[in-house]
Amino acid sequence: MLWLAFGLLTLIAVAAVLAPLARQPAAAPDTTQDAKAFYDKQIAEIDRDATAGLLSQADVEGAKAEAARRLLAAGRIAVPQARAASRVPLIVAALFVPLAAAGLYARYGNPKLPDEPLAARIGEKPADVEDAVVRVEKHLAQNPQDGRGWAVLAPVYMRLERYPDAVRAFGQSLRLNGESAPRYADYAEALIYASNGLVTADARKNFDRALALDAKNAKARYYLGLAAEQDGDKAKAKELWGRLADEAPGTPFAQNMRERIAALDGKKPDAAAIAGMNATDRQAAIRTMVAGLDQRLHQQGGSPEEWTRLIRAYSVLQEKDKARAALADARKALGESAKAPLDAIAQELGIEG
């Protein structure tokens, strides 16, 4: 079907090139003829104006003399000798058109990719997260008062890192489903993510509301600790987190809180920790991180920056093959849109995808 359409279009193009050959060879161009016809029209126009009373007799003569002067001038300019129509150049052109089109299309086209209109895709494909999100969004566009829908959608937005959307969804859920400590805390958490980790005044206000409803709410207390840390109030952060750790002894959460407190006391965070290791351990730690990134990008996809980071990491680790493979995968995953950054890194690192 597609190739049939291509064939038809090509046929039209070739026919356009060959069209002049089908007709009887018209008379050779004669510029004197053109000029004479133009002169005749001018004289007729002047006569019409004179009849309408717009021109005086003297002006009529002046205008006619002017037109005649121009006709004479036109006759003085040489025009190339007319020749018979030649067939060969047009036949060559008719061959050139499909070849050029095929060449260009082979370079830029994607004949194997079908159209993917959104309406057809929803429902046909096995449901993945984004598909489900789009369906819920469509439902909520119709029924914006469905509080349950917003409550379902909001955490998914968080997972997809669509934080501003998450803020909106948690906000709607809070409004429609009523106040509760967890809802306030979730909403405030989304606000923090949406402002790149900064605990804003707005977020604090909402955590305070959560604690007013439930003084034990762990999420609110944790983030208020973070707020204290961002304010430089280490003592308050330590106190809040310390109490959280004490309430759930032995859990990974408590362990995490202890580490945060230790970090407050100046213990080294991750990157510094890796720098402090011996060479072998460091290599191993870096490899683990890179492998994690690799796995995540292949499973969930990522931005061009993340892919370039991965490619660069393999290159630094002297793993040319893996770098090359990552570049190829990145091209496949990101398509044409990320051609420029990928070309740039391929060139910089001297690897070809």
């Binding site: 050029a100 830029y108 398509g335």
Partner: protein, 658 residues
């Protein structure tokens, strides 16, 4: 499949353009009729293919086909239908496709009308069109392909820049492009005339409607863009001397000079070199505008593409087009014989002055636009050349131009009589004086707006002096004035109307001097006095739109205690792109406007806001509409024209034919 058919159609159009760039010109130099004739089917088919490509891309936007990268980057499945359609050209790739669509449409129109033209002329012109087309098709395919695909399409797109989600965007770019690309036709015809070495009144007659149409669209496009900036950018200004605006103003100035010159050439066989030069200049400046906007040299709302490879490609096209056209010009210009001889004081002489002033204005804008860019590229120093520079430099060019316009209209072809012209403008001068007194009485100064508005009235009244004289010549009582008025060529009316429109715009600009501006912090219940009006701030509130939330203020405009209008200026925030946008509250009262734009909200609940009363401000854009209308009247006039040189004063009833 539809997407790929569109892509293939674009590729085929490119192949046809390559043939069209070579065969017809070769045919014209050899006198080969078949090679010349092929230009017509090629141009027509090319338009068909580009239309298919454009329709395919529009379809992809309409059905949210996210396997097309262009749709992903610029659309969103929930976007309203109108912005799905206008979003096709609201981005770099799509707008380039619109550009070639209009280009091929112009080519097809030339081909359709070619039967009336000398064969070598249309063959050469379409050949040059083919070269321009081929360059842009290759540019699109190689650097900005709107049909680039994604193997793993996402489920949602990134949405269109909120500033561009506005009805203004739906109209502004197509109008502007019709103007820019329209000038490519006069460029092609100029190049064709240079190639064949023949240029005459018939040439001017053929080119005239194209140039005028391009000028009309450009005028409307610029006015539209200016009004759009006025109401969305929230600064209350209508022109910012922004490089992108300048990029559209330069071809307009050159095009304005061109339409005047082409008419001289048609009627008097004079100013040939000027006409050819301005044809080349108008389109070269259109290309320069494209380069500035597309290359990423500038950063602004318009510069949605900042990719160096694109910039280099367009710079290449620019250098090739301008370079080869100017080389042709240098080679052939001396052989273009001027026909009509004229005295310095004559209609022709006046139009030479017009050319000089307009090209000087054009050069000023060019320097003001490019100098900061060049300086930054060479030394890294950033300077900004803004309104003070342009106002200072343009005033000495614009004011003589405005004064000269009515005089030029009064002068006869070949040799004119300045004194007689001045006498006929007596009425206009008196009108201007009266207007100055009235404006002074109303506003009590200052001197500059009073003087400028008097000048504007002089231009408006003077624009019709010529028509009035022709309907009722002095010393010659005509019993049937109505019949004479009807008998006057449309182009005479067009000239008068367009010039009057220019004066009307000037009046609107002059009146900015009487505007009232207040930047203040307001609270609910505050009252702001603005010239003859009082604005009462009723309340502040917030609400959610479909894809934004906004803070808005309800305000009431009162005059003499009675409410005359309600306005709701607002500040919107678009979370998807995390971008704010101001919506000015505008109340049009008479010809003036009350304009309120909101700023930040302070801690104490007060809101920063700018309040303006702008008397007669709408005249700025109404004037542009009138200008375009005058152009339209002129296009509608399809008569042949010969300008008759009037013998001085001996023929009182002698009304020059147009």
């Amino acid at each position: 499949m539809i997407v790929e058919i569109g892509h293939y159609a674009l590729v085929l159009a490119c192949a046809l353009a390559l043939v069209q760039a070579v065969a017809p010109i070769w045919g014209a130099t050899r006198g080969d009729s078949a090679l010349m004739a092929v230009a017509r089917p090629l141009a027509l088919t090319q338009f068909l293919f580009v239309a298919i490509a454009y329709a395919a891309l529009t379809h992809a936007h309409l059905v949210s086909d996210f396997s097309v990268a262009n749709v992903v980057e610029n659309s969103h499945s929930a976007k309203p239908l109108i912005y799905k359609i206008s979003g096709v050209w609201g981005n770099h790739e799509g707008s380039m496709l619109l550009w070639v669509l209009i280009l091929s449409m112009c080519g097809a129109a030339v081909a359709a009308l070619a039967a009336r033209m000398p064969r070598d002329l249309y063959a050469n012109a379409l050949g040059v069109q083919g070269m321009i087309g081929a360059a842009f098709y290759l540019f699109i395919l190689a650097t900005s392909n709107p049909f680039a695909r994604l193997a793993n399409p996402p489920m949602e797109g990134a949405d269109l820049n909120p500033i561009l989600q506005d009805p203004g965007l739906a109209i502004h770019p197509p109008l502007l492009y019709l103007g820019y690309v329209g000038f490519s036709i006069s460029f092609s015809f100029a190049a064709a005339a240079l190639i064949s070495g023949r240029i005459d009144a018939n040439w001017a007659r053929i080119v005239r409607p194209w140039t005028l149409a391009a000028w009309i669209f450009l005028t409307l496009g610029i006015a539209m863009g200016s009004y759009w900036a006025y109401y969305t950018l929230g600064w209350g200004g209508f022109w910012f001397w922004d490089p992108v605006e300048n990029a559209s103003l330069m071809p307009w100035l050159a095009g304005t000079a061109l339409i005047h010159c082409a008419s001289v050439m048609e009627k008097r066989d004079a100013l040939k070199i000027w006409t050819i030069f301005l044809s080349i200049l108008a389109f070269s400046l259109s290309l320069l505008g494209t380069f500035l906007v597309r290359s990423g040299v500038l950063t602004s709302v318009h510069a949605f593409a900042s990719d160096p490879t694109r910039g280099v490609f367009i710079l290449g096209i620019l250098a090739l087009a301008i370079g080869s056209a100017l080389a042709l010009f240098a080679w052939r210009a001396s052989s273009l014989q001027g026909g009509g001889i004229f005295a310095p004081i004559s209609r022709e002489g006046a139009l030479v002055l017009n050319n000089l002033l307009l090209t000087a204005a054009c050069a000023t804008v060019l320097v003001g636009t490019l100098y900061p860019l060049a300086l930054e590229a060479l030394t890294g120093e950033k300077i900004s050349v803004g309104a003070p520079f342009f106002n200072l430099m343009m005033a000495p060019i614009a004011i003589p131009l405005f004064i000269a316009i009515p005089f030029g209209q009064q002068l006869a072809w070949k040799r004119g009589d300045l004194l007689a012209a001045a006498q006929r403008l007596l009425v206009a001068a008196i009108a201007a004086l009266v207007a100055a007194l009235i404006f002074f009485a109303l506003h009590g100064g200052p001197a500059v707006p009073v003087a400028l508005s008097a000048l504007a009235i002089f231009v408006v009244v003077g624009a019709f002096a010529d028509v009035a004289h022709r309907i009722a010549p002095r010393g010659f009582s005509s019993p049937n004035k109505w019949a004479r008025a009807k008998g006057l060529p449309l182009s005479a009316w067009g000239t008068a109307i367009a010039h009057a429109g220019f004066g009307v715009s000037l009046l609107g600009i002059a009146a900015t001097g009487w505007g009232v501006e207040k930047i203040t912090t307001v609270k609910m219940g505050d009252v702001v006095t603005l010239g003859p009006y009082v604005v009462l701030v009723q309340d502040f509130s917030a609400r959610n739109g479909p894809n934004y939330n906004e803070t808005f203020a309800r305000m009431q405009v009162r005059s003499a205690g009675a409410p005359v209008a309600e306005i709701e200026p607002s500040k919107r925030f678009y979370p998807a792109r995390r971008m704010p946008r101001t919506e000015a509250g505008i109340a049009t009262l008479g010809l003036g406007q009350v304009y309120v734009s909101l700023g930040e909200q302070g801690k104490d609940g007060g809101l920063d806001a700018r309040f303006y009363w702008k008397p007669l401000v709408t005249l700025i854009w109404i004037g542009a509409l009138i200008m375009a209308f005058g152009g339209l009247a002129s296009v509608a006039d399809r008569r042949l024209r010969i300008g008759v040189a009037r013998r001085a004063r001996n023929a009182p009833q002698g009304v020059p034919a147009e």
